[in-house]
């Protein structure tokens, strides 16, 4: 699988990464190299194999539905780039 410059631009957009135009070519080459490498997987016959999502076949634990986290909003907002009156500020989204 070889990726074009345009495809990399599209993937970068999906991943919300601003890639500089001059870096697109390099990424296209490197990502194509990685994808070509992982295509070695095609050699394996995986017909009928159950995919393994997780090394330990344990089920999710249940717990009583009781709040157990203290309110730490002030601490968490203290490290935010921009807050006001307990709200996270971002550029205006509704004109």
């Amino acid at each position: 699988m070889s990726l074009s410059r345009d495809e990399v631009e599209k993937i970068a957009h999906l991943a919300r990464l601003a890639v500089r135009p001059e870096d697109l070519e390099g990424y296209a080459r490197e990502l194509s190299g990685i994808l070509a490498f992982v295509e070695q997987m095609d050699a394996a016959d995986t017909e009928g194999v159950t995919p393994m999502a997780h090394p330990v076949e344990a089920s999710q634990r249940l717990r009583p539905d009781e709040p157990d986290e203290p309110d730490r909003r002030d601490r968490f907002q203290a490290i935010a780039p921009s807050v006001e009156a307990g709200l996270y500020l971002v550029p205006r989204v509704i004109e």
Binding site: P51, M52, H54, P55, V56, I79, Y88, P91
Partner: protein
């Protein structure tokens, strides 16, 4: 003092031959004079360490000391530490002062271990050489023109250089074992789920596992006793009764059945590494270990499958870094999209961006089956291979890395060649098994690691087998010149 192992330091503290404050001051002085050459620490927490050391000495005076009270350690900068910057080696988190402690960090605090600082690492643990760190590469203390391995390269380098008696690391595809091998120390990746992932910055959640790095197997067992245990805040933490990982250290290895995986002894291994392993195998034969060849027919597919699974999980995990709630935010964003894309584009380095893009692609509509699902099926084949091998043998033994430490810059232009330095470690993560690396010799003055792989929950057996080797050999005592 810094020549002593953790076990020896704990005994010296108990015998009141030294105080934790004296010990901590000694290590802080060494860090100050020697770490400039290595760049092993991102943040040194001298004040907090001394405060914790005073508390440890007081606890001992009052008869409240535990086995490791007063022994200083270092944490990989992937573990959240309350009130201390937790950068994960990234510009994205350069300004991030963690508002809480990771589960592992809590446990070391409760054990009374002062924390010397936070160690350097590949950005978001993505790398095998420590060259992707925003804070610059770590140098290998055995040869400062070479890499220490990665991603826990800082932890490995500071333990090897005696700038910490022990450190924490994390291992997603070899990130504890590979740097341990390249710096001549001992490191263990536990069974997936043994060590809490709470507060450990997530890379690939189905593979990530914290573990100890120290000079000896005995020290790793002592550190694992602190680290391991159930944590309800980690949804994949294993609920198991507490275990003392030192119990099998003195058990003789006579009669132990050890498998040599055929694909690990093929053409990829450097001749010098093969020679060192041959000697280690001979040593174990002398102790009565029985060796046989075993096959892991799908081992060759581990690295390709990993470079689908790990980027896929990374692209999902790292979506949380949006420039809104914490971490890096770009200057003067035009609109919300610009805020997201520039904060991420400027905050992440090239390797992290590569992996996010590979993962995004592999998970996108139309490609999911060919990449992610295929990789998960291969993961099953690999786990089944190990299960078959462990019906015949107790432990597997092989190289940790194909070669000794490579030069800085040698593999940075070719991501795939960098990925292949983890060719012997990755399958273990895909299966979720415990594995460790211990020093087995030198080749051209550089350390060579031997890898032991165990069945699920067999950490104590691995540590015992390693300890029996270290009782009869001196490789774990070697110190790099200039740091002894």
């Amino acid at each position: 003092m810094h020549e002593k192992t953790i076990a020896e330091l704990a005994a010296a503290l108990q015998a009141r031959e030294v105080s934790s404050v004296e010990l901590t001051e000694h290590y802080l002085r060494r860090i100050e004079t020697l770490d400039d050459a290595l760049n092993g620490y991102i943040t040194v927490t001298a004040e907090q360490a001394l405060e914790a050391a005073r508390a440890a000495d007081e606890a001992r005076a009052q008869g409240r000391a535990g086995p490791l009270t007063g022994v200083p350690v270092a944490h990989k900068d992937i573990f959240c530490t309350e009130g201390v910057r937790t950068s994960c080696g990234s510009r994205m988190l350069d300004n991030f002062v963690a508002p809480y402690d990771a589960g592992v960090v809590e446990r070391f605090k409760a054990a009374g271990c002062p924390v010397l600082g936070k160690t350097n690492m590949d950005e978001f643990a993505m790398g095998s050489s420590n060259e992707t760190s925003y804070y610059g590469p770590v140098k290998n203390p055995w040869d400062t023109e070479r890499v220490p391995g990665g991603s826990s390269g800082g932890s490995a380098a500071v333990v090897a250089a005696r700038l910490a008696p022990g450190a924490t690391g994390t291992d997603t595809g070899g990130s504890i074992r590979q740097p341990a091998a390249l710096t001549g120390i001992t490191g263990l990746k536990p069974t997936y789920g043994r060590v809490s992932r709470w507060g450990m910055v997530a890379f690939a959640s189905s593979l990530d596992q914290g573990g100890p790095m120290a000079r000896t197997a005995e020290d790793c067992a002592l550190l694992l006793n602190v680290m391991a245990g159930f944590d309800r805040r980690d949804s994949t933490s294993l609920e198991r009764p507490g275990e003392d990982f030192t119990t099998a250290l003195d058990r003789p290895v006579k009669g132990l059945r050890v498998g040599l995986p055929k694909p690990f002894f093929g053409e990829g291994m450097a001749p010098a590494v093969a020679r060192v392993l041959e000697e280690a195998i001979d040593h174990y034969r002398g102790l009565g270990v029985e060796f046989r060849e075993v096959d892991l027919p799908n081992a060759g597919l581990a690295v390709p499958a990993y470079y689908v699974v790990a980027p896929a999980e990374c692209s999902s995990n790292l979506a949380r870094f949006d420039g809104v709630r914490y971490g890096y935010r770009c200057e003067d964003p035009r609109d919300l999209l610009d805020l997201y894309t520039r904060s991420r584009g400027e905050g992440f380095g090239a390797e992290v961006q590569r992996r996010i893009m590979v993962g995004t692609y592999a998970l996108s509509a139309g490609y999911f089956d060919a990449y992610y699902l295929k990789a998960q099926k291969i993961r099953r084949l690999i786990a089944d291979d190990f299960a078959r091998a462990f019906q015949e043998v107790d432990v597997l033994l092989g190289p940790t890395t194909p070669d000794t430490a490579f030069r800085l810059g040698e593999k940075t232009d070719d991501p795939v060649s960098m990925y292949l330095s983890d060719i012997y470690t990755i399958a273990v993560n895909l299966a979720g098994l415990p594995g460790m690396s211990l020093p087995a010799g030198l080749a051209d003055g550089l350390p060579v690691g031997m890898q032991l792989i165990g069945n699920y929950f067999d950490e104590a057996r691995l540590l015992g087998m390693a300890h029996q080797y270290q009782m009869g050999t001196e490789w774990h005592r070697m110190a790099p010149g200039g740091f002894n």
